[in-house]
Symmetry: C2
Subunit: 188 residues, 2 copies
């Protein structure tokens, strides 16, 4: 049923996001992909840990391409931020999906199997944080303030996503994105 590897990883990711690492059983994963458990082991001989590792790299590449990529484009910082925020919205399926990296990062603390992935994610977010801080510096903010604004923006994005999840109202996320875009591209 899975036509290609890209679709396969997407389907697997959805299950991990919705059910967590331990809640995503091979039966769930097999059902979501239309494959048998044995076929999943053909694609991922290492089982769930290998799936998670592959999916983490896939998610990092996707978030980079959809959102953070725009911070390096040839555009004004304000336009770059606008595209970044819109890209983050696309990455989360406009508030309907959680972030796979956040899910794995949360489980990684207690789960030895995926603890290395948590470290990998932390390093990537550190890089992304620096990219975001550089953008705020390019808008005229001093380094310390730029770093603070970068943390605040990421917190606002993930906080809005969490808020929408708790309230069961994805629109809350979209409204937050619209507000953030307006705030950051006008005065700042």
């Amino acid at each position: 049923m899975a036509t290609d590897k890209a679709l396969l990883t997407e389907q697997l990711q959805s299950v991990f996001i919705e059910r967590g690492y331990d809640g995503a059983t091979l039966v769930h994963l097999a059902h979501a992909t239309g494959l048998s458990k044995a076929s999943l082991y053909h694609h991922y001989p290492g089982g769930k840990p290998e799936m998670a590792a592959t999916l983490v790299r896939h998610a990092i590449a996707r978030l980079q391409r959809l959102a953070f990529q725009h911070l390096n484009a040839n555009a004004t910082p304000a336009r770059a931020l606008e595209a970044f925020i819109a890209g983050f919205g696309a990455y989360t399926n406009y508030g309907h999906s959680a972030c796979f990296l956040a899910v794995i990062s949360h489980h990684g603390t207690a789960h030895e199997e995926i603890a290395p992935l948590q470290l990998e994610i932390a390093r990537q977010f550190e890089d992304w944080h620096q990219m975001l801080a550089a953008t705020f510096e390019a808008m005229g903010n001093k380094p310390k303030r730029a770093e603070r604004l970068a943390h605040e923006l990421m917190a606002s994005l993930y906080g809005a996503l969490m808020n929408a999840k708790i309230h069961r109202e994805p629109r809350l996320f979209e409204k937050a994105l619209a507000r953030l875009t307006k705030e950051l591209t006008q005065t700042e």
Copy 2:
């Protein structure tokens, strides 16, 4: 080993927060409490679903007592907000623990066993949102703006918690709390 019920629920909650609902196995729960699996079934005949239900109510009561309670105290709105934010910090163990309600709310979508709890949590957060919005109104904001500020504050709190988790740096959460307190009790 668990001296009383309060300690018992606290120990169980820690495991559910760190490992998620499905990752929190009875072996983990038994080890964390110092009890046997059979003894856990004596306290919670319904097993893990009953534990989760009890813990949700425990967490709601705790967050109400530590944080939202302050919004109804006899104090200026600014002082109430200050106490609220500090209470939220205490609730999360100053950025070292995630919010149990957020963890359950995330799993609830796909997990039938705890889907009713997700609804219960959503209703509680709706009440809390109204309390927070009322506080912002008391500070002179119009209803619509007060609601927006209430959502933004909750998103900032949970976003800072997530940010600290991803970066593996609990201090990021404390810094965010200090900044939020300063912002909300000065100008606004």
